[in-house]
Amino acid sequence: MTAGFPGPDLRLEGSTRPLAALYSRNAKAVIARGLLATRSSNGLVLVSGFFEPVLYLLSMGIGLGALVGELDGPDGRPISYAAYIAPALLAVSAMNGAVYDSTWNVFFKMNFAKLYQGMLYTSLGPLDVAIGEIFLALLRGALYATGFTTVMALMGLLTTPVALLMIPASVVVAFGFASFGMAITSFMRTFQQMEWVNFVMLPMFLFSATFYPLSVYPQAVQWFIQALPLWHGVELLRQISVASFGPATLVHLGYFLVMIAVGMLLTTLRLRKLFLK
């Protein structure tokens, strides 16, 4: 026909890059899509995510705090009840947001909105989609954390500029939960199974030394709580909030770095199960 059109002998040369089957180095397209979708839909979703921990802080911190008074902070000095629970609420909020985005949100977009179905018929690989979605979740988490930390400052709960490090630290906490959450979602088939996620999250929120010190528990229960990720998140942010660091700080941080590494590895291994059926 016309000169210049390629002849029919189409042969592609396969890349030997590792993960070439799963990853096309284009997660930024998924991120750009997410930002555009957030911009064109209303921002109400964003606002509700911001208010949840703030409402907890107001009701428990001010209301319950009036009854409780002061208690010992991480460095042994007494702090107000509101200042005690605020970093914990930030950690819970990081967990909730990351888990929601990496489980329910992914599950819905996969099985109902068919969004990923469209994406995966392009040059994108499942790893591009996973990285893009996790990045978006963390970006949202960082925005919430900034908002919440601002509220803490306004309420006079910040005593040191070091407390601003709670923002990046809560992103690390969120990353740990998001990378694991996506791996877990790959095992889910039905909405009933997805409910199990909530079944694990709610007790973790209530009992991870969020509202009272770990010392109220018998030793065996303490060990159990200390094995769970949220307790490490709560303790990490609580120490940062009053700039009281020690070897334990590194343990908490290390816990999340390992969680991120294992979660991402597991997610990558499960990508075919998650996205390609």
């Binding site: 000169a3 002849g7 029919p8 189409l10 089957a21 469209g118 392009t122």
Partner: protein, 344 residues
């Protein structure tokens, strides 16, 4: 509707090739006429996909040369869509071999799909984005630059007659418009191979004919078309060659004309005696034509000469309520091969 400026596709194709593309790129040998079948761009050998005990695709083999319009014809649940998904590398095969342009789509999914356009059976447009953004964002998934995507999106909106809907929300579009947008979207990356899974289901007859015309032009431009359908007329209109698939297996393969020649007679006499009598009267029709097929609503007599067969029916003193002599179609082939009609 579907107005594409003449040579716009070609111009766009040239434009795309001028773009810096990430490796790997196509290497093509020699100048071969697009109409002449070349070496296969798609090659499937004993391809199978099982879900537990269920064999959705059960050992099918076929080759598709570049530039061909190849059809997968079969009823719902025959394994057509599953085959399409394996070609796109978004479904993992249970066994067998599959190469697309020389690559295994499971090992090189992103690279293979860079040259595929996909129209899925159900529209999966991005409901959170507006119409034009759907095209732009989809193009970015291929890593294409915005400088290319802007004009290309406008051209495709024109092609799909959605220019005045460019900034509309997707859920405000009618079913036909969504279908057109999905098809336009599949062309954003100038695909070498276009996978169309029941492309005209849900379109009105006029829209179908215009779409067929568009697809025919793409084929003329050298694009390989892979099409699933359960519409006989669509297969006859578009496909150079097709396979009849049932229960995950290939029942027959060939051009529409060849299949009719091999598996049916030249003409078919359709008789209706009323739904109660069709089966009982079939016994009295034995011996007329080459073959008899009693269906619940009518009796089919396969014969070289339909009129002669009808005369013989009258000569036996049988008075059908209606009678019709027509040419054999792919529907008859399917009926012959599987014992049931295509669209149940």
């Amino acid at each position: 509707m579907w107005s594409l400026p003449r040579n716009a596709w070609q111009a766009a194709a040239d434009g795309l090739r001028a773009l810096p593309r990430s490796e790997p790129d196509l290497t093509y040998a020699g100048q071969v006429h697009p109409h002449s079948p070349g070496p296969p761009v798609i090659s499937a050998q004993r391809l199978s996909k099982h879900y537990g005990e269920f064999r959705a695709v059960d050992g099918i083999s076929f080759d598709v040369p570049a530039g061909e319009a190849f059809g997968l014809l079969g009823p719902n649940g025959a394994g057509k869509s599953t085959t399409m998904r394996m070609i796109g590398g978004v479904s993992q095969r249970t066994s067998g071999h599959l190469t697309i342009m020389g690559l295994d789509p499971e090992e090189h999914g992103p690279e293979v799909r860079a040259h595929l356009g996909v129209v899925p059976q159900q529209d999966n447009l991005d409901e959170e984005l507006r119409v034009r953004d759907n095209l732009i964002v989809y193009g970015r998934y291929f890593g294409l630059p915005l400088s290319y995507l802007g004009p290309k999106a406008d051209e495709l909106l024109e092609f799909a007659q959605l220019t005045d809907k460019a900034s509309a929300k997707v859920d405000a579009l009618s079913g036909g418009m969504k279908r057109r947008l999905t098809i336009a979207r599949s062309l954003i990356n100038e695909p070498r191979i276009l996978l169309l899974d029941e492309p005209t289901t849900g379109l009105d007859p006029q829209a179908r004919h215009i779409l067929w015309d568009r697809l025919f032009r793409l084929k003329e431009a050298g694009v390989t078309l892979i099409l699933t359908t359960h519409y006989m007329d669509e297969a006859e209109q578009l496909c150079d060659r097709l396979v009849v698939v049932d229960k995950g297996q290939i029942m027959a393969e060939g051009s529409p004309a060849q299949l009719i020649r091999d598996h049916s007679t030249r003409e078919v006499l359709e008789l209706r005696f009323g739904s109660e009598r069709n089966t009982t009267v079939a016994a009295e029709l034995q011996g007329i034509g080459d073959r008899l097929e009693p269906l619940p609503d009518r009796v089919l007599i396969y014969a070289r000469d339909g009129e002669a067969a009808l005369e013989e029916v009258s000569a036996r003193g049988l008075k059908p309520l209606t009678s019709l002599v027509r040419r054999s179609s792919l529907e008859d082939v399917f009926l012959r091969l599987t014992g049931r009609s295509l669209v149940d």
